[in-house]
Symmetry: C2
Subunit: 330 residues, 2 copies
Amino acid sequence: MFSSTRRAAVAAIAALFIAGPVGAQAADPLPSWNAGPTKQAILSYVARVTRPGPDFVPPEERVAVFDNDGTLWSEQPLYNQFVFVLDRVKQMVAKDPTLRQKPAFAAVADGDMAAVAKLQEKDLLEMVAATQAGLTVEQHQALAAAWLKTARHPKFGKPYTALTYQPQLELLAYLRASGFKTWIVSGGEVQFMRAFTQAAYGVPPEQVIGTSLRMKFDPGDGKANLTFAPALGSLDDGPGKPENIALQIGRAPLVAVGNSDGDQQMLEYSAASTRPSLQILVHHDDAAREFAYDRASKMGRLDKALDEAARRGWTVVSIKNDWRTVFAAP
Amino acid sequence: MFSSTRRAAVAAIAALFIAGPVGAQAADPLPSWNAGPTKQAILSYVARVTRPGPDFVPPEERVAVFDNDGTLWSEQPLYNQFVFVLDRVKQMVAKDPTLRQKPAFAAVADGDMAAVAKLQEKDLLEMVAATQAGLTVEQHQALAAAWLKTARHPKFGKPYTALTYQPQLELLAYLRASGFKTWIVSGGEVQFMRAFTQAAYGVPPEQVIGTSLRMKFDPGDGKANLTFAPALGSLDDGPGKPENIALQIGRAPLVAVGNSDGDQQMLEYSAASTRPSLQILVHHDDAAREFAYDRASKMGRLDKALDEAARRGWTVVSIKNDWRTVFAAP
């Protein structure tokens, strides 16, 4: 106990000198957010719950949840994980042509993008199950990490992990510095996300909630083996988000950030908290710097939630107007 | 950022002075553990993975999981939560006598302990579902917290939360001071446990994994409502433990502590890690100070896991010999 306290003191003193002279004005925690009502809503909320007063919230109750696709990184023209799964399906069909018997698999293998565009959620979930079944978490994450290193976004030509949003990285860091525990709650498959969330967002694996497959435990012969089963465990989308938050976190989040109708219930759950809370919806309205889409989009459809945001006074982020910079610097 | 760094430095400096002069000998972190091979195995393992060397493990990978019933607090003569559920069933039958149509419910209402003793796991799960269905997490936790304040253990006459094991509280604190994140992974219902784990063990709600019911999300009219559904979500026992650890933590634990056959798979999962790991089984062999039971017990049966511990060199804790004190001081 003693020596770790001592190390912490030494580290903190060193940080003090690196951070600058005592009494210096605190820098803007959100430099990539333009001044205006959106930024002000965030700063005011955080001040209100962290400073002494009637709305003060104890640190252990400061829970912030972020959707991932379209909220922390780009999700157009296809969810990044969708592209990963398509690439994995191509590899699998190349190794085992009998998989072509499934029309969806054949379409993917042939690069029939018109057919791929028509795939439904159930097709994608079936592919997730087929490509992960039998793998351990570690094997699957190694495949995801390798893919993320080489894959490039079709519009920007960059790795997907280079297309995280700078303003959101600042928001995550600002919330953490204000005593919030930050979580990702996404429709993406949970173990795929865990391959990059620590490096990309500073969010450790145990604070990532996502869609999951069932698992199969085999005690083995002195060597336990835990692998994915080809069956959906939980779909972390829509009502699945508040349900999984209750299961894994055990309380309603006070800050909830999303960008689509699939996030609506998570924001509603947050808004129902007895504590002061903040709901944020990112509106992709910047075709010049990123993409512009909302009500009719297949990926990240923002229709009902946009109306509800207006009705309930949720904070809507206009990427065009509120974000000075969109993507994180390399 | 700056001001929080400064506050941390001030706190750390203050802690230094409180902790004593620089260079003082660190106190025994496990004073309630008797000297011997068990205590030595724990101290040696922690030193091995936290000091520079070939077996050093980065802090983010230091995950320790503890079963709850029989591992952190007493589980005899009945699991504490079992008693809670029986009390809730009695209340419900008193309010709604039609529930007597279920023989198990009638037996509980009549205090027919011979019949209660014959209840199976499925009966208990059905009662958990019936007593929680329709409640919110907060309502259920309030009932659990109120019950824990008034209920008394039949042998010791104390509140159940006064029957936590002092040596385990020290082990939890020692692991945390050594950079481990400590989790509870228990067959108990997860939201019941979250009513007391922070106060009793210093383990926050989001680091508690347990058996869970499904949930039902109702957007309500401007007020979202999330309640328990009367259906089992996941049974966190046996193979369910490693499966839920993978789902919620995302990696194999390096330290796994249990006391029954229901913990065996969690210990096997830990032992299969590529990192150095430590498996601990608590053996209740102290009828004078607590209880003595193992192979044939209905609650906390320790049969197969005891043999496997011998075969694989897992660390077996004898309460009689290894623990100087059993229960935490009030």
